[in-house]
């Protein structure tokens, strides 16, 4: 493996090329030009955020001292990135494209992450979005087989699933992807160093004993699943392990009600394991729109997932036959082959040397950053899950891209967090953009809510109890669509285009003016004519009235 990596020694040809590159940058926005342009930060004056102002002052001082007091210090790299996941790779590649000399370090590849294992591509590619979605594809087939019976397809025998084929194909695919990521780094001229990076001082990174200096350091080490410390927690698996089990669970307990819990519940249920989900609250997916929470819970129940609500795990007991029991505040359930904890993720900020250089962390261990992703140490920056802002791959990409622009393209850029769409690949899946109804009422007071809850064409033929739920939340005053939620087949694909519309601030009238695509599920979102309820702040109009929507879209 090491052979394929760029060697970190300064004498290496790669590095020489890189150094040449930074001395004679082809890009007009060379990294060094920062300090030579006195009015470069003029554009910052209009910013009002207090941290931005201090950032500005800091830079000016530094720029002054660089210009006047000492010659520009020479560093091995303009940017040293710790962690080659989505955000780190994006920032590194873009920085290199802008002419910066960049190195990135990453732990050796493994399907399960730890303090000493990781892999180029990061959580998304190796232990998150990608393998998860591949397993979702695989598990969805059992539902499709059922559906197909209603469309005239017959099976001589019940289709059986072979777990090892799936996992082997999944692993081959993520191996291929980690290779592609390495190539993209290489093609962009980014030096890839395998090992564990640790910050020594504001401009120095230690990778397994080798020292590199850098003008800027980027921390993009992501997060890792967290299992609470209860008796027997060593018998529990997390999502990393669940994606790479040697055999399929016969009966699995999934502890947690977040998106990871419901996604894995769908996966194992689709692959015909016996699935029991334990949630502390009454419903799954805290933070999501309440109606969506109810709807997805019902649909999952109909597909055979068992929910145990308001139950907190207290201990795991391994019995002599090897099976596991889960003890909760309500009792003990026996006979599990696996117990999975999907109880949250924590930023990977331990043993990074952050304390020694004084990088401030939040209470839960995330790195504190300003709107430009700068930490409390001016030369150190952080993007992605390690900052615990919105923990999504495309957001890390946005943060990484914005950072590269800020640092190396002479274009200070803040990532923009409004109307970020997201999806949960539960079965059926959920997608949303903008505010939940609860948030919208809190923020705007007067909102109109349009909902549709219907049986899609496919379900009328298949005879399965599948339904689709959609919700549009409109600001009554401006007519703008401020929230959009959907649970049902194809939601994530459907919502992306609508997210463009919501992001652009379009109104309900704009939605209505758009002709439907027939017959689709998505057309329902442009044919919602009557509000299901109008919520008004003033008590006179404040009654939540529930007008009933006309039946069909004719």
């Amino acid at each position: 493996m090491a052979a394929s990596l760029s060697t970190p020694k300064l004498s290496s040809p790669t590095l020489q090329t890189l150094c040449k590159k930074c001395k004679f940058p082809t890009n007009p926005f060379s990294s060094f030009s920062h300090y030579n342009k006195p009015n470069h930060f003029g554009s910052f004056n209009s910013f009002s955020h207090p941290r931005t102002r201090s950032y500005c002052r800091r830079f000016t001082t530094r720029a002054d001292s660089t210009n006047v007091a000492e010659p520009p210090r020479k560093y091995d790299f303009d940017l040293f990135t710790i962690g080659a996941g989505s955000g780190g790779v994006r920032a590194s590649r873009f920085a290199a494209n802008f002419g910066a000399s960049v190195a990135v370090c990453e732990l050796p590849f493994a399907t399960v992450s730890s303090d000493s294992t990781g892999g180029v591509g990061g959580t998304c590619v190796l232990r998150g979005c990608v393998p998860k979605k591949l397993l979702v594809y695989a598990s969805k087939y059992s539902h499709e087989f059922e559906e197909s019976c209603g469309f005239g397809w017959n099976y001589a025998a019940e289709p059986e699933h072979d777990w090892s084929t799936l996992i082997a194909n999944k692993n081959a695919e993520i191996q291929r992807l980690t290779g592609i990521y390495k190539n993209t780094l290489k093609n962009a001229g980014v030096a890839l160093i395998e090992g564990r990076g640790k910050i020594v001082d504001p401009h120095t990174v230690d990778v397994d004993g080798k020292i590199y200096s850098a003008k800027n350091i980027l921390i993009s080490v992501g997060g890792r699943p967290f299992i609470p410390d209860i008796p027997g927690s060593e018998y529990a698996i997390d999502s990393d392990a669940a994606l790479d089990l040697p055999s399929k669970p016969r009966k699995i307990a999934i502890v947690g009600g977040g998106y990871i819990a419901v996604e894995f519940a769908g996966i194992f249920n689709g692959l015909k394991s016996d699935v029991h989900v334990f949630i502390r609250q009454k419903k799954v997916l805290r933070g999501f729109d309440e109606e969506i929470r109810d709807f997805v819970g019902e649909q999952m129940l109909l597909r055979g997932i068992e929910f145990r609500t308001e139950e907190s795990p207290q201990a795991i007991i391994k019995s002599s036959d090897g099976s596991l029991s889960l003890k909760t505040n309500k009792g003990t359930i026996d006979g599990f082959s696996h117990i999975m904890f999907a109880t949250g993720r924590k930023p990977n900020t331990k043993n990074l040397g952050l304390e020694t250089v004084g990088v401030k962390l939040t209470e839960n261990g995330a790195i504190e950053v300003d709107e430009y992703s700068q930490t409390s140490v001016p030369s150190i920056w952080a993007v992605g899950d390690v900052t615990d802002r919105i923990n999504l791959t495309p957001v890390a990409l946005m943060e990484g891209g914005a950072l590269a622009k800020t640092l190396f393209a002479n274009k200070p850029t803040k990532p923009e967090y409004s109307a970020v769409p997201s999806a949960v690949f539960s079965q059926p899946p959920i997608a949303q953009v903008g505010l939940t109804e609860e948030q919208a009422i809190k923020e705007y007071g007067d909102v109109d809510v349009y909902t549709a809850n219907f049986r899609p064409l496919k379900a009328t033929l298949s005879g399965l109890p599948d339904r689709i739920f959609m919700k549009l939340i409109v600001c009554a005053k401006t007519n703008k669509v401020i929230g959009l939620h959907m649970c049902g087949e194809d939601s994530p694909e459907i919502i992306q285009g609508f997210a463009v519309a919501v992001k652009a601030g379009l109104t309900k009238a704009d939605f209505d003016a758009t002709v439907g695509i027939h017959p689709t599920a998505a057309e329902e979102l442009v044919t919602m004519r009557t509000p299901t309820r109008k919520i008004r702040r003033t008590p006179s109009e404040g009654k939540t009235d529930s007008e009933i929507k006309s039946t069909a879209g004719v």
Partner: protein, 544 residues
């Protein structure tokens, strides 16, 4: 003539329409001929505005004729709905193949029972037919079963099932009789079927021949292929789907071929002969092949022949479509027409729009023209195509400045495991001066569902910058539409790229696919990465 069943308020707008104050009494404020998508929508909405409405429709049957139809119309009984049901049914065939690499153990051949699907399809359209009837009844619209004819500017005659004729007077008459599939006049044409019959065949064909290049042709080719038939598709031009973006047409052709459909471009059928072994099909290239079913998907003609329109002076165009102005009014002020009978844009949601706007204009006191720009549409071939706005060719013709074309070809994530060799293709066409997105198209799984939201953005003049500022939903195919960062090609204002050069580019793209397929998951990145190569590769192609 015992037709006044429920008491209704007289129209306010009726009073306005009679400045002399004298009230002419009509049986109805509106009489609609044809209870398809447009007619039902116009009737219901007019009734909701307070109008007294009557509507007539032919008796129900899956296969239409001059004397058979059914409430719900083409869309519900012989179009969108049954077609999509069959597409669903057909899609399971390839899905089952794809399942194997995901670890599912299935028999080599899975049994497909066409009769069962047909039965369930008929059940479903009967259910919908019932819903439509109820919708009309619930909104107070009086439904008559029989054939309607216009006998005067304010007079409709309905021939009932028993042959008796009744006439009704109406202040306004709306023609919403739709259209019907046409056959090509070649020897043996009677052996061929149209899409009506294709949706109700007794037996699933083992060998199907489809003639035509439109959406109906490619959809049925996909349906039968998905169900396991051998399918031969014949069309006159080099590519199917005339009128769509040329590059998308090439992609569809490639995908149809990839799914095992035999394509016969630039070929016509000359004769059909019945033999013991099936129908012998002759082409103008001298080929012969045998088929169990020959489908003519060679266009549809408006249903205006037996409406007696000429007699009352309603103008028709060359192909028999009712000529209307922007408000759907014919040259006879009391007679209006909407939907396929007017042959504007023959889509259900457009007929719904025209019907709704007609009601608003005539009975809602708010004249409103249907807007036929940026109407999205879908072709449910497998995998489907969906588009909104302008094609690259149209954009090049219409834009003032240069046109920027952003494309992406990628291997959908599902295919990385299933091993299916089929790329999804997406395109955005942008006006370089205004940054407005003029057209969007996609061919690949879920394209029609994906395009609906994109259509809102286009309808409202969204810019490429607004697309770019939207964060992706990961991992989805749709996220490609908001991460198309670098221009695939720039077309100078006024230039007219020929199909030839476009196809050459597709060839180039295919050569590049080795690289392309590497880039799947990092679609957000690869555009920058691929930019230089693409530019180098594409520019010579365009200039040559």
């Amino acid at each position: 003539m015992n037709i006044i069943i429920m008491a209704r308020k007289m129209l306010i707008d009726g009073e306005k329409g009679n400045p002399n104050g004298e009230e002419t009494h009509y049986d109805f404020d509106l009489f609609v001929i044809g209870a398809g998508s447009g007619g039902v929508r116009a009737s219901r909405f007019s009734a909701q505005y307070g109008a007294k409405v009557g509507i007539c429709e032919l008796p129900f049957h899956p296969v239409s004729s001059e004397v058979i139809g059914g409430v719900g119309g083409t869309c519900v009984i012989r179009g969108c709905v049954p077609k999509k049901i069959l597409v669903y049914g057909a899609s399971f065939g390839p899905e089952l193949q794809d399942a194997r690499n995901f670890g599912w153990e299935l028999n080599e051949r899975n049994d497909f029972d066409w009769k069962k699907l047909l039965h369930k399809k008929t059940e479903e359209i009967l259910r919908l037919n019932g819903i439509y009837k109820r919708l009309l009844a619930n909104s107070g619209v009086k439904l008559y079963e029989g054939e309607g004819k216009v006998v005067g500017p304010n007079e409709v005659e309905v021939t009932q099932l028993d042959g008796t004729k009744i006439s009704y007077s109406a202040k306004h008459i709306l023609i919403a009789t739709g259209s019907r599939a046409q056959r090509l006049p070649i020897p043996g044409q009677e052996l061929a079927i149209t899409s009506d019959e294709a949706l109700s065949l007794e037996e699933l064909p083992k060998r199907a021949v489809v003639l035509g290049a439109g959406y109906i042709a490619v959809e049925f080719a996909s349906i039968w292929r998905g169900m396991g038939a051998t399918v031969d598709l014949f069309y006159r031009k080099e590519l199917p789907l005339r009128g769509f973006d040329d590059e998308m047409r090439a992609v569809v052709a490639r995908n149809l071929e990839g799914r095992g459909i035999n394509l016969h471009p630039s070929t016509n059928l000359t004769e059909l002969v019945r033999t013991e072994d099936g129908i012998k099909v002759r082409t103008d290239h001298g080929e012969e092949l045998m088929a169990d079913v020959v489908l003519f998907a060679t266009g549809r003609a408006p249903n205006t022949k037996r409406l007696n329109l000429e007699a009352v002076g309603v103008e028709l165009d060359k192909i028999g479509a009712v000529k209307v102005d922007e408000y759907s009014q014919t040259n006879i002020p009391s007679i209006w027409a909407i939907g396929d009978a007017t042959n504007r844009m023959n889509l259900t949601p457009v007929a719904l729009m025209e019907g709704g706007y007609f009601a608003k204009t005539v009975f809602g006191g708010e004249p409103i023209k249907p807007d036929h720009t940026n109407v999205p549409c879908a072709v449910f071939c497998i995998p489907p195509l969906s588009v909104v706005g302008l094609s690259e060719e149209q954009a090049t013709e219409q834009a003032n400045g240069d046109v920027l074309v952003f494309t992406s070809t990628f291997n959908p994530m599902k295919n990385t495991i299933s091993g299916r060799q089929e790329k999804t293709f997406m395109k955005l066409v942008v006006d370089s001066e205004t940054d407005k997105v003029l057209g969007a198209s996609m061919c690949g799984p879920d394209a029609p569902e994906i395009m609906q939201g994109i259509a809102i953005a286009l309808k409202c003049g969204a810019t490429k910058a607004q697309f770019d500022s939207t964060v992706g939903i990961h991992p989805s195919a749709a996220e490609e539409f908001v991460t198309l960062r670098s221009v695939t090609r720039r077309i100078a204002a006024g230039s007219n790229p020929s199909l030839e050069s476009t196809r050459y580019e597709s060839e180039e793209k295919r050569l590049e696919e080795g690289k392309m397929s590497m880039e799947i998951f990092e679609a957000p990145f690869d555009h920058e990465m691929g930019e230089a190569t693409k530019k180098v590769q594409f520019s010579p192609a365009r200039s040559s």
